[in-house]
């Protein structure tokens, strides 16, 4: 199956790749660490030494932004991979595994759906505050449901399609039917969901950071940096602007990459 991307999808990919390159280069080559403070040089504007200025501890903003972007990407990608695999597998299983499986999974999904995702993540985040892995677990747990629902609906159509029926009659096995019929049918939707999922994971992490439940200092995280730098919005607006612009860019990039709205 050929995957053709539209112009705006390429732009989205470009935005994301540039941010990723920024993160990787920043993490690899910056002479500063994320926690290295210089209380004599706080809130500096961008200079030759600190390209993006320094924060209220005199830490290099470039280094911190690079790490924050890297962290966001890591979380986004991990969540997307986990939730899409889980959601897809369970979605296909719900259709193929018979009424009982479908029913049990349906009950599970209904319970999960009855609580807004952010609330579930909040509950989880409260268990181990500041843990990246709990955030990852919680966000993935919330997100797989979306894949499940979409994959299940599409798979149901595919299962009843003449094409799959014909393959089955000609003696092809389950794996073949999945490979040739189900997977190609769900892959565009899964891709779109994945792109939105990446954006949502990043937004969720930033939101949690904003209510102090997310990643904890001194780690650099975009939501947390927003809160930390907010008091300086009039003294050093360029500092506050950095995490805000980057969150918006990342989300925007993912939305463009998704290509269409859900």
């Amino acid at each position: 199956m050929k995957f053709t991307m539209t112009g705006s999808q390429w732009v989205g990919l470009g935005v994301l790749l540039s941010l990723l390159i920024f993160a990787v280069l920043g993490m690899m080559f910056s002479p500063f660490s994320i926690s290295q403070q210089d209380l004599n040089a706080v809130l500096d504007s961008p200079s030759a030494v600190h390209w993006l200025g320094t924060d209220h501890f005199g830490r290099s903003m470039l280094t911190r932004m690079a790490h924050a972007v890297g962290l966001s990407f890591a979380l986004g990608v991990l969540c997307v991979v986990t939730s899409s695999l889980l959601g897809t597998a369970l979605g296909v299983w719900a259709v193929w595994g018979g009424k009982k499986v479908d029913h049990i999974l349906g009950v599970m999904v209904n319970i999960l759906l009855a609580l807004p995702g952010l609330v579930v993540v909040l509950l989880f985040a409260a268990i181990v505050p500041g843990s990246f892995w709990i955030l990852y677990l919680a966000i993935s747990l919330v997100q797989w449901v979306e894949y499940f629902r979409v994959v299940r609906a599409i798979t149901q159509n595919v299962i009843h399609s003449p094409a799959r029926q014909s393959s089955q009659m000609m003696g092809f096995g389950h794996w073949y039917q999945f490979k040739r019929h189900i997977w190609p049918a769900i892959v565009p939707s899964v891709f779109t969901l994945a792109a939105f999922g990446g954006a949502n994971a990043i937004l969720t992490m930033a939101s949690l950071g904003f209510v102090y439940v997310g990643i904890q200092p001194p780690l650099a995280e975009l939501g947390l940096m927003t809160v930390e730098l907010f008091p300086f919005y009039s003294d050093a607006p360029w500092l506050l602007a950095q995490p805000l612009v980057v969150i918006a860019l990342m989300v925007f990039g993912f939305h463009l990459l998704a290509g269409k709205r859900v």
Partner: protein, 311 residues
């Protein structure tokens, strides 16, 4: 209709049980001794110590096993008794009523404003096409890319600090409602105006829409008789989907604007380990969520009697 309602009631029961059990398990697995947490919330940071924790433990019988506690909770739930807050000692139902009122007010105001923005903008974009459409498309994408709290922060900087038109945070007067509702509304409208636009465009291009004009109806008559209802079908269904982002938005907005709603209350209860309040709030959210979805379903069915929307 009957079957749908029955299905919803069943869903409600599973949701109540599931949400309750889930929060129970989660809360039980929270690290740290509950008694200490509750003592900290009750007596304040300066006055919390192991003595206070011991008192709390004794008073609330926290030493009973997890299973016994769960059993008690289930029995109480069957009698519609949500218990008392561990922190304040007040009945949970009162606290939730108070919070729910504020949240619903915010939600309704936000939804209303979002509809007032999204519907005209969406229709206008579908009708006039480019360049207007592209401009609003860009604008919507920009707003969508911003977390809701960023939007709120920008509004505060602009409307509350720069122009000083509305209060920064708090509640009690209509003026306090403006910024939180507007923040919520814009974040919702950024998506829904596109849905309105797509639906409208789809309808405008539909064969039946053209056929109505071919039959001799004017553009306005066609819109009124065949446009409105057909456009509304996916839009109303979408509002059902948007409930999730609305509630999530409310949690953030309530925190930012110190709005004493249920999202804020839930977040606080989580930190205070006030299990009855957490369960109550989560339950009410779950029930509300199912109820609202049912409402949307019924609305969809009323607009489009052809079939029931997939849950």
């Amino acid at each position: 209709m009957k079957a749908m309602l029955l299905k919803r009631v069943l869903q409600l029961v599973t949701v109540v049980w599931g949400v309750g059990t889930l929060t129970f398990i989660l809360m039980r697995s929270l690290p740290g001794d509950m008694a200490y947490r509750i003592a900290a919330s009750r007596y304040g940071q300066d006055n919390v110590n192991s003595e206070a924790a011991a008192l709390v433990r004794q008073e609330l019988n926290l030493d009973q096993g997890a299973f016994a506690a769960y059993w008690h909770w289930l029995l109480d739930l069957l009698q519609f008794n949500l218990g008392h807050s561990l922190v304040s000692g007040l009945p949970v139902i009162d606290a939730i009523q108070h919070m729910l009122g504020h949240s619903l007010l915010l939600a309704l105001a936000g939804l209303l404003v979002s509809i007032l923005i999204a519907v005209p903008v969406g229709l206008f974009c579908a009708w006039r096409g480019n360049p207007l459409d592209s401009i609003f498309m860009g604008l919507s994408s920009m707003i969508r890319a911003m977390p809701v709290f960023v939007l709120g922060v920008l509004f505060i900087l602009l409307f509350a600090l720069h122009w000083n038109w509305f209060p920064v945070a708090g509640f009690g007067t209509p003026a306090h409602l403006v910024l939180p509702a507007l923040t919520l509304a814009l974040s919702l409208a950024a998506v829904s105006n596109r849905v309105v636009r797509d639906s409208a465009k789809h309808t405008f291009q539909a064969a039946f829409y053209q056929f109505s004009k071919v039959k001799g109806l004017s553009a306005w008559q066609t819109f009124r008789r065949h446009g409105v209802r057909n456009i509304a079908v996916p839009v109303v269904a979408f509002f059902g989907i948007q409930l999730v982002s609305m509630i999530e938005g409310i949690v953030m907005i309530e925190s930012l604007f110190s709005w004493p709603g249920i999202g804020h209350g839930l977040a606080h209860a989580i930190f205070a380990r006030d299990i009855p309040v957490i369960q109550g709030a989560a339950l009410v959210m779950g029930v509300l969520f199912v109820a609202l979805n049912t409402l949307v379903d019924m609305l969809c069915l009323w607009i489009d009697p052809r079939g029931v929307r997939e849950a």
